[in-house]
Amino acid sequence: MALFTFVFAVVSPAFGCPLCFGSTPYELGLYWSVLFLLPVPFVIVGVLIAWIRRQSDGNIKEG
């Protein structure tokens, strides 16, 4: 996790693709869009698992 924040936030390497980087006005937009989508599946799967656990526990108690 620490490593993750490190690479995401701190390192801004001298990357060698001058041809294309910066050629789109939506640079920053894409960046945040990617960051937004990164955790979403994990959140959803987490919620689903928690929900299903609760449901099936309830079932055992009722039955």
Partner: protein, 196 residues
């Protein structure tokens, strides 16, 4: 979690847990679908310093706030529909279901009215990426509200036919799950599209 010894051939009533798991999974994909749309929205929202772009109308923040309230209320009614049914009050459950559907439709009508005004102000699908995003994102949500309302109405019909009881509330519960999802999405979208 132990395996339910459900002998699915022996009974043709779907087992409650399986159906709910199925619905939950479906809602999971739907949520990812909206995440994709939001992610697309963010590209343009963050990437554009002027938002809305010059020459495009502002969105009706206040009337939509009222509409948000309508939708939240309908979710509360839907909860009542389940809790009354579980308490054995099938008739009042049907009544609450009806209210849910009416409020859902009301939301759609209000949205439609705002859309007509926006189009008159020059905001259309093709007027700018802004317009395209607005109609796509909000329109797709509207379609989900429509689908949810249809589901509630279908469950209402079966409820009036007396198919649900405290012992077998499955259909109403499934409809509530979907309706909750559709309603829960809305404040997020409202915040993102109208306020941010």
């Amino acid at each position: 979690m132990t395996a339910a010894p459900a002998d699915s051939i022996a009974s043709d009533r779907p087992a409650p847990l399986v159906s709910k798991v199925g619905m939950a999974l479906f809602i999971g994909t739907e949520a990812m679908f909206f995440a994709g749309l939001i992610s697309a929205y963010l590209v343009f929202r963050v990437g554009n310093p002027n938002w809305p772009p010059a020459g495009q109308p502002r969105l009706p923040v206040e009337s939509t706030a009222f509409n948000t309230l309508i939708l939240l209320l309908s979710a509360a009614f839907c909860h009542r529909a389940v809790s009354t049914l579980r308490a054995g009050l099938a008739r009042s459950s049907a009544y609450w279901l009806g209210l849910t559907a009416v409020f859902g439709l009301f939301f759609l009508v209000l949205q439609g009215r705002e859309w007509i005004r926006l189009v008159q102000f020059g905001l259309t699908l093709t007027s700018s990426v802004y317009g395209g995003l607005f109609y796509t994102l909000i329109g797709v949500h509207g379609l989900h509200v429509l689908a949810g309302t249809a589901l509630v109405l279908y469950v209402l019909k079966r409820s009036v036919e007396g198919r649900y009881s405290a012992a077998y509330p499955l259909g109403v519960e499934l409809a509530r799950m979907y309706w909750n999802f559709v309603v829960a999405l809305w404040p997020g979208l409202y915040f993102l599209v109208y306020l941010l």
